[in-house]
Symmetry: C2
Subunit: 334 residues, 2 copies
DNA sequence: CTGAAAGCGCTAACAA
DNA sequence: TTGTTAGCGCTTTCAG
């Protein structure tokens, strides 16, 4: 059987509280006793039970990560960076995929609390505001990543989506494009709304007509983006450039263009958003707006842990700068 | 404060054991008491603490998932399917990325035990055999995924890597290729070894010369695969086809070919392995060997849970059939 | 500096 | 059918 604190205490000839103290480095301990205890700990290969210590009010050192889908490269890369920093700070991640389904999300929220996680990081486009409000009222540590909920005062880390959308559209305009399509999801994410707003603003600032028919809605999948892009590109007043709100949607545009025999970027310029691995492996490599995924993961974990450790009493909104990554999918118009 | 079983008991006018019984559906309970208790549970929004019940010997309903890197699409997709099935069975996943670093892995193994997970799924190319043996001796539930360790008798789910390698190479041979390159990682994974063995066997069976110079080793990264492919394709005795042991390595070949102005599949045929999302989005779409990722995730979770619940006393090796997915990166040789 | 003892929230005999 | 009680392994006063 796994050794307990009692086994160590007995073997070392001290009381369990002494063992507890040396393990946790609390209180003052005689040098010899400490040494003796540590020795026995080593010898018995003793590892304190996180479960038991959690029951006495300590942390579980576990954090819930709620995302739409880890198979989505953006969230996969984000998860990875969050996990990396979590490991440095001593926290593990409980992975929860919801596909943005509110019921699944609600289920997870309640499950995570039952499991006494120390905090939760949310990357889904939640609509469970009331649930979040409750958690907030209980001062349960929550942080949002890559997605804001302006109505709620929570810790949040995002890229500057408006600026990103602005940069993307401006890039296209600067290349001489005047007919610019926009492929969105369902506008459920705030991030997407900002990008879209920026798109419209850039058009306006440049005296370009906004054409309702140039903005296409999708269910966020590549297939649906392909469908939307086909529609867009087959239209007689075909745009010369497309701003896809996510790299994955940009791939759909690639597929549609290929099917129609249109060359990127000669016939149509495409810009994405996220700078996931996808952007660099498609042909031609995708010009896109990079989110500082690595830093975002790190920062959100930092914020949450500060919250957990009570080292912070104000919520923070961290908005990181996006970066335009010019590759070969955009081109000066003839 | 979160309500405890005591709050419920008091409110319902029964003892805590009665509450415990109705919560867990154990023992016989009077219909009215059950109803009353359930009512109070609802009213107080009571959720039993997993931590406390774990301390009394019950499960934590948490499983450790040790993989090299969730940002790798293959493992991302696999994680997703494991998590999905875990959710159905009532288990959560603690995500652990190790980059195949034995120290990180050892750290996680010990951490997961401290956290009293009910079992562990391992997808890394571990070398910590001794650690695994110890866990095995304690009858700690462990299952291997996408990776075998023949020396250890554990539950394992893999694709038939030998057959997959056989199908891949045979496909190339059937297209008339006689000079076939092979891009490997470091041969640390058993799966890779089998694929490589099959490659050699197919060559032999078809009376084709095996050329040492045609097999390239990489560190599993796309960049390194590109480097290796450049070397391979620049050589005077350039192969007409390449079998890349992973889709990601195949992408490296694409990049090298592009750099050298070689057309796929006209100048060089490429076949990958895994059938991740990458295979379908590159241009041309990659012919590859599909692993039944979804089923693998499901099966490994099933096996592990059976083990955890003691419903199984023999270890199982499940070898699933691969499938050749012909797309456009392979072509009959002129 | 160290030990005794009272919990943390829940389960599982054992009684009643 | 229901209640009482002794832990599970650990932390934390409170004494000494």
């Amino acid at each position: 059987m796994k050794p307990t604190i009692y086994d160590v205490a007995k073997e070392a000839g001290v009381s369990i509280s002494t063992v507890s103290r040396v393990i946790n480095n609390t209180g003052r301990i005689g040098e010899k006793t400490r040494k003796k205890v540590l020795e026995v700990v080593e010898q018995l290969n003793y590892h304190p039970s996180v479960v038991a210590s959690a029951l006495t009010g300590k942390r579980t050192c576990t954090i819930g990560l709620i995302i739409p889908d880890v198979a989505n490269p953006f969230f996969a890369e984000l998860s990875r960076s969050i996990e990396d920093h979590g490991r440095e700070l001593g926290f593990n991640l409980l992975m929860c995929n919801t596909d943005n389904n509110p019921d699944t999300e609600e289920m997870y929220l309640s499950l995570l609390k039952q499991k006494s996680v120390d905090g939760i990081i949310i990357g889904t486009t939640t609509k469970n505001y009331n649930l979040l409000r409750e958690l907030q009222k209980e001062h349960f540590p929550i942080a949002l990543i890559a997605q804001d909920i302006p109505e709620l005062m929570l810790d949040v880390v995002t890229v500057d989506d408006f600026l990103g959308g602005y940069m993307a559209t401006s890039h296209l305009v600067s290349l001489g494009h005047e007919k610019i399509g926009c492929i969105l999801g369902t506008l459920a994410r705030t991030s997407e709304k900002y990008r879209y707003q920026a798109y419209r603003q850039v058009l306006e600032e440049n005296g370009l007509d906004f054409d309702e028919d140039f903005v296409m809605h999708t269910d966020y999948s590549m297939e649906d983006s392909k469908r939307a892009a086909l529609e867009l590109l087959r239209s007689p007043k075909r745009p010369t450039a497309v701003f896809a709100n996510y790299d994955s949607l940009a791939i759909g545009v690639y597929q549609a263009a290929k099917e129609l025999g249109l060359k990127i970027p000669e016939d149509i310029s495409v810009i994405g958003f996220d700078n996931t691995i996808l952007a660099s492996i498609v042909d031609p490599p995708l010009t896109t707006i990079a989110q500082p995924i690595h830093e975002m993961g790190q920062q959100v974990m930092d914020l949450l842990v500060q919250e957990i450790e009570g080292r912070k009493n104000t919520k923070r909104r961290l908005v990181l700068p996006p970066e335009l990554i010019i590759r070969n999918s955009t081109k000066q118009i003839r």
